[in-house]
């Protein structure tokens, strides 16, 4: 009896092993390494939802290069060390495509790790698809052949934002508040430099850094902004750091205009509505709902039907995965060694409005039209509100692709 049990267990295990192998041959495993718990979880989960949604779209059409796409989430708790452990784990489990975005500190570590891993293991061909980390070092000093980014870098965004602010004569005193890590310092540095250049009459009355995703009550910071007499706040804060900041500002009745990078999700629209900041919060990104572009509306509609609480926070994730799948199909291979050369020079009509963007081979930065928008009550003809607030994004200015081209110092090392 005991023997029978053993042998059948062995048989089962072997069948399992074969099944896994057969399974692995016709699936493309994409590892999603981002915060799925802790302070960053709210936006990490939104990204995971979007990625799963796109994977299901592709699978419904028969997959890519003959393979079904499978998304596997790895929780990195917004922590660079844990991320590296998770990247290693993902590689060990057979993933060659690593999607990671939130936290430039994490992205720099992951990109470094992957580049070294590929150097040491010729043929491993791991690729890092970055949809959100925008510290400019990623496409300059620390650029890598195995790293691609779809979000405009902090310098590009700040350049566009300061061009917009340049003509606003009521901006006189600016307060900068940023998260205390590489990205926050990049944003604050760029803001100071560019404002000085374009509007030397503007006074910078505060340059604050606070810990990343750890502050629960921003009232003390808001009191400080209030006391500084600022009329404008510029911040690169994302996730709960933005939502809570605006929430506290609303409660204190802080009367300023906000210029932000990431006001689209994780409670920020809710906070803006509660604070009554109609058309006072500006956001720069690569697309909003309500741009009236049919294909985007269809997909956004389908996404929001499936995940009703989470908005389309990452239009760039559609750009990214659409391009990657296109490159795989063109190369007829899911091995990054084959499809990266295709991806490097690819042109792509952006998800949000169908305008042309392109991947620059020199630094693997995707260039695309950017839009500056404000949140306010839905107007006639606008379909989408955010987080069930009844308020939606509307266009304040658009920045064509040509105006976003910044030079790079990247010395790309090709294998």
């Amino acid at each position: 009896m005991k023997n029978a049990f053993h042998s059948s267990a062995l048989a089962l295990a072997m069948m399992g092993a074969f099944a896994v192998q057969a399974h692995a041959q016709d699936t493309l495993k994409i590892a999603y390494i981002d915060p799925l718990s802790g302070g960053g979880a709210s936006i990490g989960q939104i990204g995971m939802n979007q990625l799963n949604f796109i994977a299901d779209e592709v699978n419904a059409k028969g997959g890519v290069a003959g393979k079904k796409v499978q998304i596997v989430g790895y929780d990195n708790q917004t922590n660079p060390q844990i991320s590296l452990v998770q990247v290693q784990k993902a590689i060990d489990e057979g993933a060659q495509v690593i999607v990671q975005g939130n936290g430039s500190s994490v992205a720099v570590a992951v990109s470094d790790f992957i580049t070294k891993y590929n150097d040491r293991n010729p043929g491993a061909n791991i690729v890092h698809l970055n949809y959100a980390a925008i510290d400019p070092v990623l496409t300059n000093e620390k650029c890598s052949y195995w790293h691609f980014t779809w979000d405009a870098s902090a310098d590009i965004k700040m350049e566009a934002l300061t061009n917009f602010i340049k003509d606003k004569q009521d901006v006189k005193k600016v307060y900068l508040i940023s998260q205390d890590y590489s990205f926050g310092h990049a944003v604050a540095g760029a803001a100071k430099r560019m404002l000085q250049e374009k509007r030397s009459d503007v006074e910078i009355v505060g340059d604050e850094f606070h810990p990343l995703v750890k502050i629960t009550d921003f009232a003390p910071y808001v009191a400080k902004i209030q006391a500084s007499g600022a009329d404008t706040v510029i911040t690169g804060n994302w996730g709960q750091d933005l939502a809570l900041l605006i929430k506290a500002a609303g409660q204190a009745g802080l009367d300023v205009d906000w210029y932000t990078f990431y006001a689209g999700g994780a409670g920020a629209p809710t906070a803006i509505k509660q604070a009554g900041l109609e058309n006072r919060v500006f956001q720069i990104n690569e697309g909003i709902n309500n741009q009236g572009y049919g294909p985007a509306e269809e997909r956004a509609d389908a996404l929001m039907k499936r995940f009703s609480d989470a908005p389309v926070y990452y239009p760039r994730m559609f750009n990214m995965m659409d391009m990657v799948f296109k490159a795989m199909a063109e190369a007829n291979s899911v091995d990054p060694g084959d499809f990266v050369p295709v991806l490097e020079n690819m042109k792509h009509d952006s998800f949000a409005a169908g305008d042309e963007g392109f991947m620059r081979a020199d630094d693997h930065q995707f260039f695309q039209p950017l839009y500056i928008s404000t949140l306010g009550a839905l107007e006639e003809g606008q379909k989408f509100d955010e987080e069930h607030t009844g308020w939606g994004w509307k266009m304040a200015a658009s920045v064509p692709t040509e105006s976003t081209l910044l030079p790079t110092t990247c010395q790309m090392k090709r294998p």
Partner: protein
């Protein structure tokens, strides 16, 4: 300047009082049962989510009463059927039990309400500026939170110092065996204290939820600070917990308000020139940037120089 000092003081006291609501229960449970309830902040989170859910269904005022009662009942059940059983296996088992409980509560909250922040709003009846000072509004809800916390502190003090129940609790703190001999059901006292303790944390959750964030990681953000409060204040001392809560609330708020760094302090003096070389890493770091670690610095200093805490009575 006056404006920021005044507003920071109010904010500091408010944060301190919220900490006190949680720490008061924790410190009493700790000194009575010898259990460091690692899950205390999780009950605070449970309070916030129960408050959110009940507010949605019944309105804020019923939620303010019902949510803490419900959480208190959950707490009593946990004590009766969980803690009491592992009690016989010693403190390590109890510690592990409450540690595990934090994960269970977090997972349950994530399963029911998800990982995204809940849209827990300030009730409309309290959503107006209480007063405007210089140019800053002070929200009525914050003032309300402040008053509630003070009221609870006074009530708690009266119950413990002036009533028979308080007498039994105090006695059970130090001489549980003797209290049992005198015919009191010590187990039931423990259960009640645990229930009331986590109920107070739940009150903090219900009223802090709309101001701070109602999200599944809120327990993790506040938990560590609670232990600082309990240790700094001294075990089992309500007065100590109050003093430590206010101290930490004020230190954190005021630290944020000021941009002083070592460079500003020593400036261009001769000492400054030497120090700036030796301390180059932290030379330009402002107090505002290190605000969040100040409570832990305080914890370390207290453990070194006054292990019993500010008002504690025994060195444990």
């Amino acid at each position: 300047m006056l404006e920021i000092i005044f507003i920071s003081t109010l904010n500091g006291i408010l944060y301190g009082m919220l900490l006190f609501l949680m720490a008061s229960g924790l410190t009493v449970i700790f000194s009575m049962m010898g259990v460091l309830n690692l899950a205390h902040a999780s009950f605070y989170m449970l309070g916030a989510f129960f408050g959110f859910e009940l507010t949605r269904r019944l309105g804020f005022w019923p939620a303010l009463v019902l949510a803490p009662v419900l959480v208190g009942l959950v707490g009593m059940a946990v004590e009766r059927y969980g803690l009491r059983r592992v009690h016989s296996h010693g403190h390590v088992a109890e510690l592990l039990f409450t540690f595990g409980l934090t994960f269970v509560i977090k997972e349950v909250v994530e399963m029911v309400w998800g990982k995204l922040p809940a849209d827990y709003r300030i009730p409309t009846s309290l959503d107006f500026p209480a007063f405007t000072l210089f140019s800053t509004n002070y929200p009525a809800f914050r003032l309300f939170v402040l008053l509630i916390s003070i009221a609870i502190f006074v009530a708690l003090l009266l119950v413990i110092k002036k009533t028979r129940v308080g007498l039994v609790v105090q006695a059970a703190l130090t001489h549980p065996g003797m209290v049992g001999m005198l015919g009191h059901n010590v187990d039931r006292v423990f259960m009640l204290v645990f229930g009331v303790g986590v109920g107070l944390a739940a009150v903090a959750g219900v009223i802090a939820g709309p101001i701070l964030i109602t999200q599944s990681n809120m327990a993790g953000l506040l938990g560590p600070i609670l232990f600082v409060v309990v240790v700094v204040g001294g075990l089992g001392s309500l007065g100590g917990a109050l003093a430590a809560s206010l101290l930490i609330g004020l230190v954190q708020t005021f630290a944020v308000a000021f941009n002083v760094s070592l460079a500003d302090l020593f400036g261009s003096s001769a000492v400054g020139a030497v120090l700036s070389v030796w301390l180059s890493d932290i030379w330009r770091v402002t107090v505002a940037q290190v605000a969040p670690i100040l409570p832990y610095l305080l914890l370390v200093l207290i453990l070194i120089f006054r292990p019993r805490g500010l008002m504690g009575t025994r060195d444990t």
